[in-house]
Amino acid sequence: MEAFLHQIFSGLAAGGIYASVALALVMIYTATHHINFAQGEMAMFATYIGWALIEQVGLPYWVAFFLTIAIAFVAGFTIERIVLRPLADKPVLSIIIAFIGLLVIFNALAGFFFSYTIKAFPSPFPTSPPFGNKFLSWHDLGTVGITVMVLLLLFGFFRFTPLGLAMRAAAFNPESARLVGIRVGLMLALGWGLAASIGGIAGMLVAHVVYLDPNMMSGILLYGFASALLGGIDNPGGAVVGGFIVGVAENLLGAYVIGTELKLSVALVLIIGVLLVRPAGLFGRRLVTRV
C-alpha cells in the first residue's frame, strides 16, 4: 500500500512537470494557433541562463528567477519578430520546419556554451519533508503551486484583461481582429514572449528534478504535448489536469501493469485512444465545421 501511494505521488510530481510544459504549449497555441516544437529547447536554454545567473553571477534564486523570465520574454518576442514574422504567410509545414530549425539551433548552442555535463539546478524550497510526510517534497508541492498560480494568472489574463482578449482575437481570427483595430503582429509577438516566459518557469522547476543538460527537454516535451492534447489544447486548466493524468497513469502502468519497457508506448496508445473518442481532448472545445 505504501509503495502504491508512493507511485501515485511520484506520478503527481512528474505530472506537475508535464503540466507546466503543457501550459507553455497551450499558451503559444492560444496566442498563435501553432504548436511550437522548439518550446522545450527554448525553455532549456532559458534555464541555462537562469543557472548562469545563479551559479556564475551569484544572484539570489528569486532575483535570477524573475530576471530569467524577463529575458525569456524578450527572447521569445524577438524570435517571433525575426524568424517567424517573415514566414507569416507561408504554409503551415514551412513554419513547422522553422520550429525544427530553432530546436536544433538551441540544442546545439546550449551544448556549445554550457557543455553536455549535467548540472544541478537549485530549488528555492526547503529540503525537509513537508508536514512530516515522505511522499512529496517541498519542491514537488512548490512546482504544483507555481503551475497553478501561472494557470490562474493566464486564465484571468485571457478572460478579463483587454490585452488578453485582444491576443485571443488575434489568434482566432486575424482578419476580423485587424478590422477592429488590434495590432495582430504585436499580439503574436507578445504571445511568443509570454510562452517563452512560461517555458522558462517550467524549465527552472523541471531542472531541479531531472538535472540540467541540453537534452533535458526532449523527453519531457513529448509528455507535455500529450498532456496538452489530452486535456484540450485550447484549455489551460485542461492541460494541467492532463499533465497530472499522464504522470500518474504512466507511473501506475509502468509499475503494476506492463512493466517499464513499454510504458511510454502503451501510455501513448491510451492517449490516442482517448483522443479518438473525444477528438478535442477531455476538456477541449469541440469545433463544428461549417460548410
Binding site: 514566414l87 504554409p91 522553422a98
Partner: protein
C-alpha cells in the same frame, strides 16, 4: 532568367507535371551513368574503380533511398494532406523485415524489398484506419508516438529472438550477381536501388495522375466537398497512408541492405523529422521534390559539419530556416518559378 514577373500567390503547388519527358529522360540517363561520369567530372578520381568514387556512389545510393522514403511521405502529406511525424517507423519496419528475412530465412536480398513494401502497406493501412480520424496536431501526436514506439517494440524482450534486441542484426552486403566482374558491390547496389527507385517513381506518377490521386487531392483541398461527391474519405485516406508506408518500407529495406546492419538506435525520432525536413525543403506535392529533399538531408548536415565543428547543428538549423524563407514551396517550387 525570366523570373522577373511578380511571383504569383503561392498556394500549395498542384500536382501538375513539372518536368517534361525529355528532362526526365536526361535526368535518369545521367543517374545511370553517374558511377562512370564521376571520374570524368572529377579528374582526380581517374580510373573507373577508385575508393573515393566508391564512397561517393555509396552516398548517392543513400540519396536514392531517402528519395523513395520522402516520395512516400509526399503521398500522404503532400498529396493527401495528412501530416506524419512517424514515417521513420515504417522505414524501421521495412529495414527489419529485410534484415530478418535475410538473417533467419536466407531470403535473397532483392526478394525482401517487395515483402517489406507489402508488410508496411498493411501496417500503414491498419494504423491509418483509426488514426486518420484525427487531424492536424492530433494526427501529428499519433504519428510521433508511432515513431517513438517502434524502436522500443523492436527491442522488446519477447521478440528478441527475432530482432536481435538491442544488438540489432548484421547482414551481408550483396555482391554483383552472375559473377559480374566490372562492377563492385557498391556500384551494383547503386544500380539496384536506382532500378527500384525508377519503378517506384513511375508508379507514383501514375497513381497521382489517376483516379486515386485526384480523390486524394480533392480530400486535401476540400474534404467535405469530396465526401459529398462520393469519395470515401476514410478509405482513401487510409489507403494513401498504406501506400505511403509501403514506399517508406521499400526505402527501409534498401537502407538495411546498403548499411548491412539494423539496430533500434538507427531509427530514432530524428529520422522521421529528417524525412519531413526533406519533404518540405524538396517541395510538397512534387515528384521531383523528393530528390531535392533527399539531397538536402544527405549532404547539408555534412556541409554544416565542415563549416563549424563546434556547433554544426546550429548551422544546420539556420540552413533550415533560411531554406523555408527563400523557397517556401521547396526546391521544386523554386525551380518551377525560375523556369517561369
Amino acid at each position: 532568367m525570366t523570373s522577373n514577373q511578380a511571383a504569383a500567390p503561392l498556394a500549395t503547388p498542384l500536382a501538375k507535371p513539372a518536368t517534361s519527358w525529355v528532362t526526365t529522360g536526361i535526368f535518369i540517363a545521367v543517374l545511370f551513368a553517374l558511377p562512370y561520369l564521376l571520374p570524368v567530372v572529377l579528374p582526380e578520381l581517374e580510373g573507373i574503380i577508385t575508393l573515393k568514387a566508391n564512397f561517393m556512389i555509396f552516398q548517392f545510393t543513400l540519396v536514392i533511398i531517402y528519395a523513395i522514403a520522402i516520395l512516400g511521405l509526399n503521398i500522404v502529406t503532400g498529396y493527401s494532406g495528412q501530416i506524419s511525424l512517424g514515417h521513420g517507423a515504417f522505414y524501421a519496419i521495412g529495414a527489419y523485415t529485410a534484415a530478418v528475412l535475410m538473417d533467419k530465412l536466407d531470403v535473397p536480398y532483392w526478394a525482401t524489398v517487395p515483402v517489406s513494401g507489402a508488410l508496411c502497406m498493411v501496417v500503414g493501412f491498419l494504423f491509418g484506419l483509426p488514426a486518420l480520424r484525427l487531424t492536424g496536431h492530433y494526427l501529428a501526436l499519433a504519428t510521433f508516438a508511432l515513431a517513438l514506439a517502434v524502436p522500443q517494440l523492436l527491442k522488446y524482450k519477447h521478440i528478441e529472438w527475432l530482432t536481435g534486441g538491442v544488438q540489432g542484426i548484421v547482414i551481408l552486403k550483396p555482391d554483383a550477381p552472375f559473377g559480374i566482374k566490372f562492377m563492385n558491390a557498391d556500384q551494383w547496389l547503386y544500380y539496384f536501388c536506382l532500378f527500384v527507385a525508377c519503378i517506384m517513381f513511375w508508379l507514383a506518377m501514375n497513381l497521382i495522375r489517376g483516379r486515386f490521386g485526384r480523390a486524394m487531392i480533392a480530400i486535401r483541398d476540400h474534404p467535405i466537398a469530396a465526401e459529398a461527391m462520393g469519395v470515401n474519405n476514410a478509405m482513401v485516406k487510409s489507403m494513401a497512408f498504406g501506400i505511403s508506408a509501403a514506399y517508406t518500407g521499400v526505402a527501409g529495406a534498401l537502407g538495411a541492405i546498403a548499411i548491412a546492419f539494423v539496430a533500434p538506435d538507427s531509427f530514432t525520432v530524428f529520422l522521421s523529422i529528417s524525412f519531413l525536413v526533406g519533404l518540405v525543403i524538396g517541395g510538397l506535392a512534387s515528384i521531383s521534390g523528393a530528390i531535392f529533399g533527399a539531397i538536402f538531408i544527405q549532404f547539408v548536415p555534412n556541409i554544416a559539419d565542415s563549416i563549424s565543428k563546434a556547433a554544426p547543428w546550429a548551422i544546420y538549423g539556420m540552413f533550415l530556416i533560411a531554406a523555408v524563407y527563400v523557397m517556401p514551396t521547396g526546391a521544386a517550387g523554386l525551380v518551377r518559378r525560375l523556369r517561369g
